[in-house]
């Protein structure tokens, strides 16, 4: 590329006067970056045109300056105000959101606290109820075991059940004696007997070969149930007397309470 020829072609002059198409403009600009002489010449041409433009200088009315400056400061202020107001708006939204969530969480806290204490009360009540039930169950199980035991004793084929009644026919005192003929074990089950005075106890007697044999003392009580007494050999008859506490060696005959039939 002959630079001098390119310069003298007039394309730079057309460029400086704005008479080229977009593609031609690009071409000139690439030439300027590759060839400093071209750029320098273009600068000279532009300076000439600048001077030529200045030849036509004339003053606009002074109002134009004020009007332009007010427009420029207005665009700047407008931007600043807009910026600040959008910031303020964002903060307002944030604060509103914070307050809203604070109120909501306060209400939620109260609500859940009430729910929680309600649940806590019910929980304590249920624990208590469970304990009561467990105690009841223990009592029932104890009674059940005892009754089962008593029942198994009575069902044993080796056991003989003898009913003892009041010797005084006007009274309906009653008890049953259960006696195992193999183990010789004796049990008494009181059905109806008056509560003995203090210092006194009922005593069971077995009549063996015409002689009364001590079969043990027993207590009265609602839950006494079947009470195990002393083992005795084969008895002909059974009797219960009221004796001083601890029992006697021989029965006090006028204190005879119950007697089995012969």
């Amino acid at each position: 590329m002959d630079v001098r020829e390119y310069i003298s072609s007039g394309v730079l002059d057309l460029y400086a006067m704005g008479a080229l198409s977009t593609s031609e403009i690009k071409e000139v600009e690439t030439m300027c970056t590759s060839y400093p002489e071209v750029a320098a010449e273009l600068r000279k041409i532009q300076d000439t045109l600048n001077d030529y433009s200045k030849v036509h200088s004339r003053n606009p009315r002074p109002e134009v300056r004020a009007s332009m400056m007010s427009k420029i400061t207005a665009t700047e202020k407008g931007k600043i105000v807009q910026l600040r107001s959008t910031h303020e708006l964002t903060y307002k939204y944030l604060i509103a959101a914070c307050i809203a969530s604070l109120i909501i969480s306060t209400f939620a806290s109260v609500f859940f606290y009430q729910k929680w204490s309600e649940a806590e009360d019910r929980y304590v009540a249920m624990i208590n109820e469970k304990n009561v039930l467990a105690q009841n169950l223990n009592v029932v199980r104890y009674n059940y075991d005892k009754m089962n035991h008593d029942l198994s004793l009575m069902r044993d084929p080796a056991v003989t059940i003898v009913t003892l009644r009041s010797s005084d026919t006007t009274k309906y005192y009653m008890a049953h004696v259960m006696w195992n003929k193999y183990t010789r074990q004796t049990f008494i089950d009181v059905a109806d007997l008056p509560v003995p005075p203090d210092e006194m106890q009922y005593q069971l007697w077995a009549l063996v070969d015409g002689h009364p044999v001590d079969a043990g003392v027993f207590d009265m009580g609602t839950d006494a149930g079947m009470q195990k007494l002393k083992a005795v050999t084969d008895a002909e008859m059974w009797a219960v007397t009221l004796e001083p506490k601890g029992g006697s060696e021989s029965p006090t005959m006028d204190q005879m309470v119950l007697l089995s039939k012969i």
Partner: protein, 199 residues
């Protein structure tokens, strides 16, 4: 003495002109400092206004275009690339585009028609209108001495916004001639300026 300061033209008739390095002014405007805009206006408004007026030939519309030009310079300052040319060159291009757009707009041609009806005297002869600027009167005389065919090609391309092919058509000359004539026209202009400086 009259033409001494042509390259910082014109310094005497505007009292408030501030001398500032172009780079400092460019950096002020890049920072969107309105003070930079005041300096820019004080230093260049008469040159730009004269240039715009040369195209539009109407005081009021030219002042409007001048304001629009400064606003565009302010808002699009990031588009100015100092590596590509002087600030004034870029400003002249902005002003030129805006003025030519205005001249070609419907609104303008409408106004122009009305204006031509009311007074058809003062149009087109730009020579009569630049009397406000005493510093350049002498120079104008010199330019008037420029061969009309060179003056014409610059008027069409630079102030008229004609493309080279439009100018070729208008002047009824080949495209190549538009190019070479442009080259010679600007060299002649430059000679005139060099002469006035060396005087």
């Amino acid at each position: 003495m009259l033409f001494l300061c042509l390259h910082h033209l014109p310094t005497t008739f505007v009292a408030r002109r501030i001398q500032i390095a172009e780079e400092s002014l460019v950096s002020m405007l890049s920072d969107r400092n309105p003070e930079g805009m005041e300096i820019l206006y004080d230093n260049y408004s008469s040159a730009l206004y004269g240039f715009i007026h040369r195209i539009i030939q109407n005081d009021e519309i030219s002042e409007d275009v001048l304001q629009e030009t400064f606003l565009r310079i302010w808002n699009n300052f990031s588009k100015y690339d100092p590596g590509k040319g002087r600030l004034f060159t870029w400003m002249i291009n902005v002003a030129r585009n805006m003025a030519i757009d205005k001249v070609r707009s419907k609104e303008f041609t409408q106004k122009q028609k009305n204006r031509e009806l009311s007074d058809s005297v003062s149009s087109l002869d730009s020579g009569n209108q630049s009397t406000y600027n005493p510093d350049t009167i002498g120079l104008k005389e010199l330019i008037r001495k420029l061969d009309p065919e060179y003056k014409q090609i610059i008027d069409l391309l630079f102030f008229g916004g004609y493309t080279q092919s439009e100018a070729a058509e208008k002047l009824n000359i080949p495209l190549g001639t538009v190019k070479t004539r442009s080259r010679v026209a600007i060299q002649k202009l430059r000679e005139q300026f060099d002469k006035t400086i060396s005087l």
